[in-house]
Symmetry: C2
Subunit: 126 residues, 2 copies
């Protein structure tokens, strides 16, 4: 399972796609340990660049990502992880996908409703 | 169009997805100029980290990626570009998608045929 972790300071890009709908849900980054955990546990696990540690997606929210299929690209520096997403939404802002902002006439517009209340899941930040 | 180019040395991750089939075709990286070119021209344009310059996808092969929709994620450090792919395949190895290698029992296996002959398009490397 020789991925190329050298190009990006020990990380590969991980694209998370809904296995059923095909929607791209989020992009994260994995170091070798996170990738191994993802394969071994069957739950998508990332390396958080901001917190500088492993991050099991859903550890707080319960919205885990169940791995159905993993592919890599011709450069072996990115992986595509097709998942079944537990819970209503993957985005910590309450949307189904992190890619909720669409470019329209030069502005990023949100054209979809929140599917859960992030304050109820993650606790209020106010 | 304020994307966060700071997290990854001036780049954002760009996931390219087929607008019709939903297949993830490739992952590239865009600096601000590449992103602007993508928006202005309607053809996906990347920053090549290996060649250290802008790269209009399809400039050699003619297999350009026609932009249909662009989204960004909650961190604004990645974009999802849904495209119509001109030509039979996006991967320079001749496959429809760069993500042709699937993890099966700990090995990366290719289970799909090439859709074009890369030597005929890019010239033989031998």
């Amino acid at each position: 399972m020789d991925l190329d972790f050298k190009k990006m300071d020990g990380l590969v890009t991980a694209v998370i796609q809904d296995f059923t709908s095909g929607r791209v849900l989020m992009v994260g980054y994995m170091n070798e340990e996170a990738f191994q955990k993802t394969v071994e546990t069957g739950f998508a696990t990332f390396f958080s660049r901001s917190r500088n540690k492993l991050w099991l997606k859903g550890e707080t929210s319960g919205h885990r990502l169940v791995v159905k299929e993993i592919s890599t690209d011709c450069d072996r520096d990115a992986v595509l992880v097709r998942v079944e997403a537990l819970g209503p939404g993957v985005c910590h802002e309450g949307f189904q996908s992190c890619f909720a902002r669409r470019l329209e006439d030069g502005k990023w517009e949100i054209r979809e409703p929140r599917v859960y209340d992030p304050d109820a899941v993650y606790g209020s930040k106010s």
